[in-house]
Symmetry: C2
Subunit: 254 residues, 2 copies
């Protein structure tokens, strides 16, 4: 079965186009990428640490996390992938997984063969650049997380995560109040934020009390974007630096 959905690659192409200029031929080539669709249940591993994979995983729906684990079993997520993200595009050049990929909610995955991706990159240099750039953008996000971990408090860090996800989902700016589905437990939020489940709970309560944002029943509502952005010291520059259509001088939000 190659592509049961109508146009599963559309969101992936959209993501690429956010940072890379591709002409119509190149876009058409991306849209023709074949793959196998798989439904993955919550908390199911998609790729395990050390696996040698032959496919990259495109997230069609749901939330996918990449994490590592220590001896005791405590986990820390290094990345989160949403609809349209190729969660392990990097596996094309490093097939042996250095971390585990897991579905944080029920998810739909399109497994795209490395061979097809390589062929595309070889044929169209602009696509090769786009893939490379995609990995670099993910790295920039991870660098921001690293900063977050050490420099921001639990409250600030939590707000920052929710703002980042809102931004990446494309539902930021302008229209308020912003809200979106984020079906994940507090325990797992803790693994994203480097906090215990218990403290995540206290943190969410504080953010709700101060009318910054609200997280309930797998739904995030950003009550006051300005207040949240200030608390989180959120500057989307790291998400937008690769934007090729960016109108030049733009950084701190107004």
């Amino acid at each position: 079965m190659t592509n049961s959905e109508p146009a599963p690659l559309r969101p992936f192409l959209a993501r690429l186009l956010r940072h890379s200029a591709l002409d119509e031929v190149e876009q058409a080539a991306i849209m023709k990428l074949p793959g196998i669709v798989a439904e993955v249940g919550t908390h199911r591993d998609i790729v395990r640490l050390g696996d040698k994979v032959k496919h990259a995983c495109l997230v069609l729906s749901g939330i996918v996390g990449r994490f590592s684990q220590d001896r005791v079993g405590r986990r820390q997520m290094a990345a989160i992938h949403l609809r349209g993200d190729m969660a392990d595009l990097h596996s094309v050049v490093v097939p042996q997984a250095t971390s585990t990929l897991q579905a944080l909610s029920a998810a739909t995955i399109l497994h795209v063969p490395h061979g097809e991706i390589v062929t595309l990159a070889r044929t169209y240099p602009a696509i090769a650049d786009a893939f490379w750039r995609d990995c670099v953008v993910d790295a920039a996000i991870m660098a921001e997380w690293l900063t977050s971990m050490s420099l921001r408090s639990a409250n600030s860090r939590t707000a920052h995560l929710f703002l980042e996800v809102a931004w990446r989902l494309g539902i930021a700016a302008g229209e308020r109040p912003v809200s979106y589905d984020f079906p994940i437990t507090q325990e797992r939020l803790g693994e994203l934020l480097g906090l215990t489940g218990v403290h995540v709970n206290r943190t969410l309560k504080a953010l709700r009390t101060h009318e910054v944002l609200d997280f309930h029943h797998g739904k995030v509502s950003i009550i006051d974007w300005e207040k949240a952005a200030q608390l989180a010291d959120f500057d989307p520059a790291y998400l937008e630096a690769a934007s090729h259509r960016l109108p030049a001088g733009r950084s701190r939000r107004g």
Copy 2:
């Protein structure tokens, strides 16, 4: 001036060859990369946040750090680059810097024009892959740092850093005691580790007392590699996953 040193690109090529197979023609092409050599003093910025750069920075000597900063001025390093590392190879595809690059010690930098790098990548697909792979390896290191920040204690984290650097310098395994130059202040070590300078001091004292390792006058000595590796939960798999000459089934150290 193009290349005053005898063979400044040799260590960079060596780094690429650790993870990518390149034939003689490709290797020769890398060695011919032109660039401008610059001496950079301690604590001098090489690239500033937001800069649009046209060159990538190859570290010929010294230590270079990539960091971000919050409003208060506290800093967190997201990466460290040693001799042979192209510190911002990613700038080829994302020229606008999302973090600052600074010399942590006196350093020598070779500025390589993006144009030359792109030409090479376009001409030799294997080189394009190698560059992409290089960025992915750096990302894997950053992911490990992220894990370190949240899962490991100050002692463990510090040991982990010194082991990683030893490994990356290629002076690991077998011969003990291992020692190498690492000319950096405790304050700046704190920015690498996400600790205050004061606590770095206490941490180093503890590690010295327990005869794990020693850091004095810009020199690291790993007194007991096994003990250090155990304390740090250090597994070099994340550094070796991309190794194309790896003898297959290898992960946890014995």
